[in-house]
Amino acid sequence: MALETEQAQRAPRQEGTPLLQVKDLHTNFQTMDGVVKAVDGVSFDIQPGASVGIVGESGSGKSVTSLSIMRLVERPGWIPSGSIIFQGKDLLKLDDEQMRRIRGEDIAMVFQEPMSALNPVYTVGDQVAEIVRAHHRVGKRAAWARAVELFKLVGIPAADRRVHDYPHNLSGGMRQRVMIAMALANDPDLLILDEPTTALDVTIQAQILDLVRNLRERVNTAVLLITHDIGVVAEMCDEIIVMYGGKIMEHGTTHQIIDDPKHPYTRGLLAAIPAMGMKGQRLTVIPGTVPSPLRMPSGCPFRTRCPNVMDVCSNYPTLKTLDDGRQVYCWLYER
């Protein structure tokens, strides 16, 4: 346990008080066949205004991590241990009302499926105005004015007319813009984007990513981006956390992770993506599949597929902070 406190203090390359400190977070789910440890001892910090991406495949625990931060894990899931310190408060110790106030006001979240996150029977303007009024004592008119302003901020053309549209009148990209407008309604300090472009086409994805980039220059919001697409994090974030099997594998700057991955899993992941000009070459393969969450191997979850596996890997590696400040959980870097 002493380890986690130590690693929290040694966040990569940044000084000052972090906006968010996740410490040794565990999130479990009760299934008919046993307990699934979806998030298994995850620790990281987010500095104010930073952009951090969590990348991982399905079952890596990346989405559950973000839901845990929002305290949106519902039964049969629960958080047995860990702490999530946001602006000095442990979110896991707040009561429901205090947490409700933080959600949407200090931390906001955008989900993958904008259609299911929007209520089909209200206009999008209504829904944005409602969020504004839920956190501020303003009149209806002022809330609507704010909604139009937000729509303009997220680049919705003819914003003053679009606010009267129902969700089904809008395209997928426009709906995702509405979701971002809603998330920004109360100037949150942390914006969590959970696979925000996965349901969108590539040209629309480019629009949304552009929008988020521009917004970060204008509003000083820290961003936590959850995605399976390493290209998307690489373009969007300054820092990357690579997750696998509920655990962090590697955490460093985008430059470090992309150009010089240290963890065998990160290396395999990057090599498995067909890149331009790889024609005729065989793709590098990570053998096997992600183990069933009910039968995660002991120790390092990646060891059953790892090309560098050693005997010691049946124990979970302690955190190694390399000279360049990045954090790796791998026995290869034991000194």
Partner: protein
Amino acid sequence: MQEPDIEVTGALSDQAPWPMSAAHADAVILDETEDQVVAEPIGQWTLVWRRFIRHRIALIGGVMLILLILMAIFGPLLSPESPLSFNYFAGNKAPELNWRYLMGTDAQGHAIIMYILYGARISLEVGVFATVLTSIIGVLVGSIGGFFGGWVDAVMMRLTDVFLTLPFLPLLILLSAYTGGGNITFVILILGLLSWSPTARLVRSYFLSLRSQEFVQAAQALGVSSPRIMFKHMLPNALSVVIVSSTLNVAGFIIAEAAIDFLGVGIHTPNVSWGLALANSESYIADGNWWWPLFPGLALLITVLSVNFLGDGLRDALDVRAKVE
């Protein structure tokens, strides 16, 4: 429909011995990790059974139902009298701790327990056979409509609509008067023939959604014939909903049978049923003999609840996609 055997076998075996090149060797070696797949393949029904027995309420419902079925089979042996037996016992007798008088007697001195034991057979027979009838008609009409679509579907669905709009009770009373009614076959036929519409609609909507599933398209691309796609690919996948809705139908029919007995257009004496016992008790309730309607009513309630519980459990157990591992 079928092509000459020799041709295809030839086409396939002229490649033999099949090339086992090294090209795919890595795929073999790098096959998903061993622990990914369960040690012993579990059959579909084993899986269903495992899930079912974890569903406690459904299990209770199932056990109750088995007891009820045993009662229907062996009831006449246990009964202190037969409905036909001439009796000279006291009427309107309250229950007491004695097999014959356990549930009291009716105005004529017949033991209420006799109605319960003999009536179980009628109730279950009507429930089960009427359901089998509705399921067969409903599945046929629904699957043909849902699979072929277009005008076939339109015809099938209009037919379904017609049966859905038939005024059930007046028709029943009319037919009952016309045929004389009174026997169990008549009740089963009436209930079965008039109630298949919801099943047909359910099956149709399932088939419509299954049609767009890729495994159905894959079968088409393989050249599988339409009847085979319907019955081998789609029906087994729709079967779980049919089974679940059928269990609920059983409960519905048991109640409907009691209701039409109650109205005097169902089973007649000398047959006995729970509904009939209830109906006969009606004019005597004012006398305060509560046991007469109570026990047949309880029997109905327990049966219907058991069937519903069972249906609930089956709904969960038959969902293949929910994984047990």
